[in-house]
């Protein structure tokens, strides 16, 4: 066991924690049964510190990364929680199958995906990861190993997926995969004039493609506010076997002298340079399946460019009916606070709220900003705007959120009560849990 200061991936939340890396199941169980509070740690790439806490023992799961069953007839794959989404998808693709809900980065573990109930690049089409999970085996020192699925222990199933690791350690997961609809992905780029138009176009186009998302520049004046591109992706029969190497992403990489001195300039340059480069590219490109699945892989320099201070991300869903008014006020707020936005993207969402799942009908906006005092003030004002327009924030993306804002989720109190009922001794704890007073 080592003691270490652990940072959230955005670099803003940290804790003095302990880390252990069991390599045998009995060591894992022994650690879980000890008196110290625990929390599972996958790749350690969560933007909020859900994988560590002060004096909490973070249990690394990445050596539990095996495929335990592969059932083509039932289209089910059973894996251990430490397998990375990239490795699992690579395996499925080689066999002619696909898994639709993938985060942008391949090294994120399946356990991490479940704990945050992640959505992929096109939540409208495929939902959240919970919609693709058949069963989980969960271990909690006070309850033992429990099998949870939609017929057995469904409450615990729903509480664990999207439960930020607070119900215990996932021992294995059964996921449902799909047949591949093509050998590669065609990506069509459509230029859009502003943020309001982007969402309306995406709503219009969404049923014609397999995935749809956008990139927008929010550092422009009113008429052009949110000018950018919509990316419409469909499976293609064109063979594209470009091999991609899964790169390493970490908070340590951006602590170098080079990124400290280049940070101010690179942050200003990111959006305009990206826009120019994208404008010069063809409107239609063909991508290998893995390239399309993990667009951030190979672009680690983006995160490194924030330097030691890191960045902040705000991701929210605004109901369709409120989108236009929300964007108008967002523009005013950005102008007033004079913040520099390095990345902004839209997705279309559909679904119902349950516990703290990031899911409801509406437009999802993600914003990245270099971390500083101005950012915090801007995000605090954005909290109020989001509440005014009946939005919800993504708890796993923002290490700043308070219980007051988490209450935008109508089931926040129910989630809190259910977690406390299941784990009254608080055997599982994290900085996120403490901060949100769960």
């Amino acid at each position: 066991m080592i003691s270490k200061k652990i940072f959230s991936f955005d670099g803003n939340e940290f804790s003095d924690s302990f880390i252990i890396r069991p390599d045998k199941k009995r060591f894992l169980i022994n650690e879980l049964n000890s008196k110290q509070q625990n929390i599972a740690m996958g790749a350690g790439l969560s933007y909020a510190l859900s994988f560590a806490g002060n004096n909490v023992k973070s249990i690394m799961t990445h050596l539990f990364n095996r495929i335990l069953n592969f059932d083509i007839d039932k289209m089910l794959i059973t894996v251990e929680p430490g397998i990375s989404i990239g490795d699992m998808l690579k395996f499925l693709i080689e066999k002619g199958y696909w898994f639709s809900v993938t985060p942008g980065y391949p090294k994120i573990t399946i356990g991490g995906c479940l704990g945050n109930n992640i959505h992929g690049k096109s939540q409208y089409h495929y939902g959240n990861i919970i919609d693709h999970i058949e069963e989980i085996n969960l271990y909690h020192p006070d309850h033992g190993e429990i099998i949870c699925n939609r017929n057995k222990n469904i409450e615990l199933f729903n509480l664990t997926i999207g439960g930020f690791g607070l119900t215990g350690i996932i021992i294995k997961v059964v996921l449902r995969f799909q047949k591949l609809k093509g050998f590669s992905i065609n990506r069509k780029k459509i230029k859009v004039k502003n943020l309001i138009e982007t969402a309306f176009e995406m709503i219009k186009l969404k049923d014609n493609y397999d995935q749809i998302y956008s990139w927008n520049n929010l550092n422009l004046s009113k008429k052009n506010f949110g000018r950018g591109f919509i990316y419409c992706e469909s499976f293609s029969n064109e063979i594209n076997q470009k091999i991609i190497e899964f790169k390493n992403l970490s908070t340590d990489a951006r602590n170098t002298f080079f990124y400290q001195i280049t940070q101010p300039i690179s942050q200003i340059a990111i959006s305009p340079v990206f826009e120019i480069m994208e404008s010069m590219k063809k409107d239609e490109t063909n991508l290998s399946l893995l390239e399309a699945a993990f667009p951030i892989n190979g672009k680690e320099i983006y995160f490194n460019s924030f330097g030691k201070k890191g960045f902040r991300e705000y991701q929210l869903i605004i109901p369709f009916k409120n989108w236009e008014l929300f964007v108008q006020e967002l523009y005013t707020l950005i102008q007033k606070k004079k913040v520099l936005i390095t990345l902004s993207s839209l997705k279309i969402f559909k679904g119902k709220q349950k516990y703290l799942y990031f899911s409801q009908d509406g437009v999802c906006l993600a914003i990245d900003i270099p971390s500083n005092q101005k950012t915090t003030e801007f995000f605090n004002s954005l909290d109020e705007l989001m509440k005014k327009y009946e939005g919800i924030p993504n708890i796993s993306k923002d290490s700043r959120l308070t219980p007051k804002i988490a209450k935008c989720y109508t089931q926040y109190e129910i989630f809190k009560k259910d977690i406390r009922n299941f784990d009254p001794k608080i055997r599982f704890n994290s900085s996120l849990r403490e901060r949100l007073e769960i």
């Binding site: 390599d23 045998k24 199941k25 050596l63 335990l68 069953n69 592969f70």
Partner: protein, 248 residues
């Protein structure tokens, strides 16, 4: 199709697990041995699902006084026609292995690191035709070359094993079977996790890559990474009045 068969002892974690996965990836059938059945089964499932090879697990306690290699090898031969490669990667080191030894872990250390492997190697090499053994690879440690106050029993057991293997290599010099001894430097395993060490730590996958790629070469003994040859050489010529003050 007849695939070559590798018997990997100490396969549930670390270097043994990495070798198992690498051999499966390269198309070998694998017979995995460890004391923890519940840790071997996931590796067997994973390797057979990913690479379409045959993988079987055999749970055995190498620390037992009455450990009988005939039973183990007999069981392996029930599932596989022959055993072409033996990789002995099992090892045991106690945190209490410091200074004079106590009975509690003395037996276990010597059995796992010395007695059990020589029993297995002796049986395999005395019946080469039966098992069709081609290479025997023994994973040792640089600790065997530079005795120090910590891990004395472990180091001396491994040193004894190395001497035994070198002798067997000479005995087999007119046969087709080869013996390889790897003296490993710092490897990223549960033993080294989180420790601040003076020299770089290499991954078990890196070690596995090297071992499997050279599995048919008759080189005898090798340090890996190779720079340990120089480090060990320097440590060996350090005068006692300096060596006694070094803490490592």
């Amino acid at each position: 199709m007849n695939r070559k068969v590798a018997l990997i002892i100490g396969a549930s974690t670390g270097v043994g697990r990495a070798i198992s996965e690498k051999m499966a990836k390269d198309g070998y059938d694998i017979a995995l041995v460890s004391s923890d059945k519940e840790d071997l089964l996931p590796i067997c499932l994973d390797c057979s699902i990913k690479y379409g090879i045959k993988a079987m697990e055999f749970s055995i306690n190498l620390a037992e006084q009455d450990f009988n290699p005939k039973i183990l090898l007999g069981n392996v031969l029930k599932d596989f026609i022959e055993i072409n490669y033996l990789i002995y990667s099992a090892g045991f080191v106690s945190e209490n292995d410091f200074g004079p030894s106590s009975d509690t872990f003395l037996d276990k250390t010597i059995r796992i690191n010395y007695i059990s492997p020589i029993k297995i190697i002796s049986l395999l090499t005395s019946e080469i035709e039966l098992y069709k053994i081609k290479s025997i690879i023994v994973i040792s440690s640089i600790a065997a070359f530079v005795p120090r106050k910590r891990n004395i029993l472990y180091a001396s057991s491994k040193a004894a094993l190395e001497i035994f293997c070198s002798g067997i290599r000479h005995y087999l010099s007119d046969k087709q079977t080869i013996i390889q001894i790897y003296s490993l430097g710092y490897v990223d395993t549960s033993m080294s996790f989180g420790k601040k060490l003076f020299f770089p730590i290499i991954s078990p996958e890196n070690v596995a890559e090297k071992i499997v790629s050279d599995i048919n070469n008759d080189f005898g003994q090798r340090f890996y990474p190779s720079y340990w040859k120089w480090i060990v050489g320097i440590l060996k010529i350090i005068p006692w009045f300096i060596y006694r003050k070094i803490s490592f």
